[in-house]
């Protein structure tokens, strides 16, 4: 899996929310996006997911342009801001309903992924009764359940307790080992350094700094966006 952004800009209401961003990303790596609220992290994820069309530049996923009828990557797992599911169904029922659209996984696999994120697949409570942390875990489960090649996690650590954060770190590493390209965002730099191999720091829609994790676990700044 590869994702390339070539000089991508997005203008909304006369403001450049993304400003000439170029990146090359490969599967089997975790890319972190860091910045304050409103710097463009979520917008960048939406562009990669195909939900937003860039004003300039292009996005290639596995060498194919995202455009027209094929504007969403074929194998995509998505957690964007607040996860939202159907209030009247349980966590399992919600995921199973979604899984049936692509019919790629079985009921047992849905149960497994719920256990992975620390939720009980036999829990009979409707989604409306979930706590914020449970909703976040369900959102993560939804993103990873079909083993996507491209995984976009926007602020995955929000509302999670310490156990939840540890589980999420573990999940991210497992997905990376599986070969997925993971892009995650957070305004918490410590969490991001723990989870990511490469970090892009965004300010006002531009990539202002770029760090790569070295062998000893520290990050060194690089001059321009390099592969991996």
């Amino acid at each position: 899996m590869t994702v390339e952004l070539e000089n991508v800009s997005k203008i909304l209401s006369n403001t450049a929310v993304l400003d000439h961003i170029s990146m090359n990303m490969q599967g089997g790596h975790v890319y972190g996006l860091h910045g304050i609220n409103g710097c463009g992290k979520t917008m960048l994820m939406r562009v990669v997911a195909g939900l937003i069309h860039p004003t300039e530049g292009q996005v290639l996923v596995n060498g194919k342009f995202l455009s027209g009828q094929n504007s969403f990557p074929e194998s995509l797992g998505l957690l964007l801001e607040n996860p939202a599911f159907l209030n009247q169904f349980t966590g399992f029922e919600n995921l199973w309903l979604l899984a049936q659209i692509q019919s790629r996984i079985s009921e047992e696999e849905v149960r497994d992924v719920l256990r992975r994120v620390g939720l009980d697949p036999e829990d009979k409570r409707a989604y409306r009764k979930y706590s914020l942390g449970m909703k976040q875990r369900l959102g993560i489960a939804c993103a990873i359940m079909e083993k996507p090649d491209l995984l976009l996690l926007d602020e995955p650590f929000i509302s999670l307790d310490d156990d939840g954060v540890k589980q999420t770190f573990q999940i991210i590493q497992e997905e990376k080992k599986r070969g997925a390209l993971v892009i995650l965002s957070s305004h918490d730099y410590d969490l991001l350094t723990h989870a990511s191999d490469t970090i892009f720091h965004l300010t006002a829609g531009k990539v202002t700094k770029h760090y790569i994790k070295t062998e000893d676990g520290t990050f060194r700044e690089v001059g321009r966006c390099e592969v991996g």
Partner: protein, 300 residues
């Protein structure tokens, strides 16, 4: 296959809403029939018991055609504005149209934010997603009308109105302030103007409304559809599709000239245009995260 799976998802997701909508149409239909019975049938032939009333109705040759004309007749076009003070506005008929449009107003919009993004990205092709939304929209319109017409038919049968094509002069005059131009319509014409055309017309307007929600907020799209429907009551023109939903304006009733065949063609053309325009819009629009919808219906 994905379209079928998506339709199944929509069915499951909207199960509870569909039940509430069905119930509201059922209650409205019963309420309207009680009104029709007391206002029209009982009013003209005041009898102490329903049994006696039914005998009188049979003798007077009041049929289901009369009851359906009451439900779907709408209003005859005004010749000029001086008639405005005297005419009986088709409020009950309009409420049915606006209620069904209300049911479908938020369909597409609620699925391009929050949890709906999970659906959209799993379907991959916007065309498939949009097609399933259009089908679901039409299913909702059909469901509402099927419940409405079935309830109306059962109530008509229970009150002694038979399956006949005759139009009772007294009933017609009481509702439309004029005599009917024809004394009878055929079964085929009756099915066409009472059942098929209202479904197609409301379905077409509902699809256009749903397409509009890709450009403007649902409340605005609903207002536009509502104003278009209301204007059609006053403007007897093929440009206002709603004319074909009013059975008294049909050529079959002989009072006016709207051809059912033309109406059907226009509806199909409009549905196709709504589908194509919606599909094109989806391919180019940015799906920005709308405010998370906590409530079932959040229009603003």
């Amino acid at each position: 296959m994905r379209s079928f799976n998506l339709l199944r998802y929509d069915l499951k997701k909207n199960e509870r809403t569909a039940r509430i909508e069905g119930l509201s149409v059922l209650l409205l239909s019963i309420f309207y029939y009680i009104f029709f019975y007391m206002d029209t049938l009982h009013c003209f032939w005041r009898t102490p018991t329903i049994k006696e009333n039914m005998k009188i109705l049979a003798q007077q040759n009041v049929s289901m055609t009369d009851s359906f004309l009451y439900l779907t007749g709408g209003m005859l076009p005004m010749q000029d504005l001086s008639e405005a003070a005297d005419v009986q506005y088709p409020v009950k008929w309009l409420v049915i149209q606006l209620l069904i449009l209300f049911f479908t107003a938020e369909f597409a919009r609620e699925d391009i934010s929050g949890g709906g993004l999970q659906i959209l990205t799993r379907v991959h092709k916007q065309g498939q997603w949009w097609l399933s939304k259009c089908i679901w929209n039409l299913i909702t319109v059909c469901q509402a009308y099927v419940i409405l017409f079935l309830t109306w038919m059962i109530c008509s049968l229970l009150t002694g109105l038979g399956f006949r094509g005759t139009i009772n002069d007294l009933c017609f005059q009481g509702v439309f302030n004029t005599s009917p131009a024809v004394g009878e319509i055929s079964a085929g014409q009756a099915v066409l103007i009472f059942i098929i055309l209202p479904i197609f017309t409301t379905g077409a307007i509902s699809l256009v409304q749903m397409t509009l929600t890709l450009f403007v907020r649902p409340v605005m799209a609903y207002l536009i559809s509502a104003i278009y429907s209301i204007l059609g009551i006053f403007a007897a023109s093929p440009a206002f599709l709603i004319n074909y939903a009013m059975s008294t304006r049909s050529r079959a009733c002989g009072l006016y000239r709207f051809s059912p065949g033309t109406g059907l063609c226009l509806c199909v053309i409009l549905m196709a245009c709504a589908f194509v325009i919606g599909n094109m819009r989806l391919m180019t629009m940015d799906i920005i995260n709308l405010p998370h919808m906590e409530k079932e219906r959040s229009w603003l």
